[in-house]
Structure formats: C-alpha cells, structure tokens
C-alpha cells in the first residue's frame, strides 16, 4: 500500500520522554483520522515499547531511542528501536506475566498490552546489539 507520510524521531532514553514520544506518535497518527479509542490504544502501546527501551534495553543508562512511523491509507506502522542489551529469548519475553525484572515490580504485561492494543507486533532483537519492536494498527476509514 502506498505510503502517505512518514517520520523518524530520535530522543534520549529519559523517563520524561515517554510522554513526549506518545504525544509525537499520536499527533502524527491523527492525520489518519483515528477515533479517540484508537488513539489511546496507540499511545498505550508506544508507552510500553518506550518504557521497555529505557528500563530493559538501556537499564536506565542513557541511550538513544528511535521511533519511526509510517502512515498508509488505513494503517499506521510504528517501529520503536534501541541499541541496548537486546533480548535473549524473544518468545519467552513475549509471554504474559514474564519479566526479567520481578525485583522492580514489573508486571511482565508490556508485550501482551502491545499485542492487544495493536493489530500485530513483530520483535527483532540481537543480544548486545539492540531491539526493534514493529507494531501495526488498522485505522478504519470513517468517511
């Protein structure tokens, strides 16, 4: 499907940038005329992905997070990338309630939330190199 618009943003893995990142993606997504519910879903998924980069990818050290968003006629594609420690076992990481940081009271529900709020989630990761989470959501055309 034809790409209508795209953007890429790089920002620091600071916790105050989680809210910033989700506003950026929501403002961009608004070009597809989503409902408020669709917009809230996208924001929640982006928050979870960005939080993972900060807490797991960089373990609260400073690094760069990149978000790429692509708009097609009735779909948004969002990539959230870090160059942090990577994920050893992606399948295990995606399981509900599984967390590598129970000591931090993590819920282990981040990937489950992304999967439920978006239509499709793909995870690519290399230990020591970093992680990309690609998320897709159909925005039904209301007009």
């Amino acid at each position: 499907m034809e790409i209508l618009n795209e953007m890429t943003i790089d920002f620091l893995s600071k916790s105050q940038n989680e809210a910033f990142a989700r506003v950026v993606v929501a403002a961009f997504a608004s070009q597809l005329n989503p409902t408020l519910d669709e917009l809230a879903d996208i924001k929640t998924a982006v928050s979870e992905a960005v939080t993972n980069c900060i807490i797991h990818g960089y373990e609260n050290n400073l690094g760069t997070i990149r978000i790429k968003a692509i708009l097609r006629e009735n779909e948004i594609e969002i990539w959230v990338q870090d160059w942090g420690k990577g994920i050893e076992d992606i399948e295990k990481a995606r399981q509900p309630l599984w967390t590598s940081k129970p000591e931090l009271d993590r819920s282990g529900m981040g990937f489950t939330i992304m999967e439920n709020f978006m239509d499709r989630v793909e995870v690519e990761s290399t230990l020591g190199k970093g992680t990309i989470v690609k998320m897709y959501k159909t925005i039904k055309n209301k007009k």
Binding site: A27, S30, T35, L36, T44, T51, R106, S107
Partner: protein
C-alpha cells in the same frame, strides 16, 4: 516588536485556546455532544472541526485530560 506579535495573534485563524485547561474542557463537551449526535465515538478530525482547533492540538489536550496509565505505572504504586 510587540506590535508584530499582537498582529499575528489577533489575526491567527485558529486562536490558540487560552490554556490547555480551556481546551480540555472544550474537548470533553465536544466529545459528549458528538457521541450523542453520531451515536458513536467521534474521530479526531470530527472533534477538531467541532472545536476549531487542529487535530494535533487536540492530541495535546487529550494528553492533559487522560494521561495514559500503563499497567507498569500502576505496579509501581
């Protein structure tokens, strides 16, 4: 200098909502009105047209109304 600023503000096609608070109140009442009229959830552009503020600004207003609470945030409390 101040003249230029005033000129631009006064002629701005989209008068900036006086504050984010005003905007959030407008969004909430427009949302309820459209929900009733359309019998479904309004889209961001429908809200934008109702209020006369660009969709991107509505997004900022929404962020102020309803900060997304992630399960993780809840877990922290």
């Amino acid at each position: 200098i101040g003249e230029i600023k005033r000129f631009i503000r006064d002629n701005s096609p989209v008068k900036m909502a006086r504050s984010l608070r005003d905007l959030t109140i407008k969004i909430q009442s427009a949302k309820e009105k459209l929900l009733y009229e359309l019998n479904r959830e309004p889209t961001i552009i429908e809200l934008s047209e109702e209020i006369g503020v660009p969709p991107e600004e509505i997004v900022m207003g929404l962020e102020a109304i309803q900060p997304i609470v992630s399960l993780n945030d809840v877990a922290y409390q």
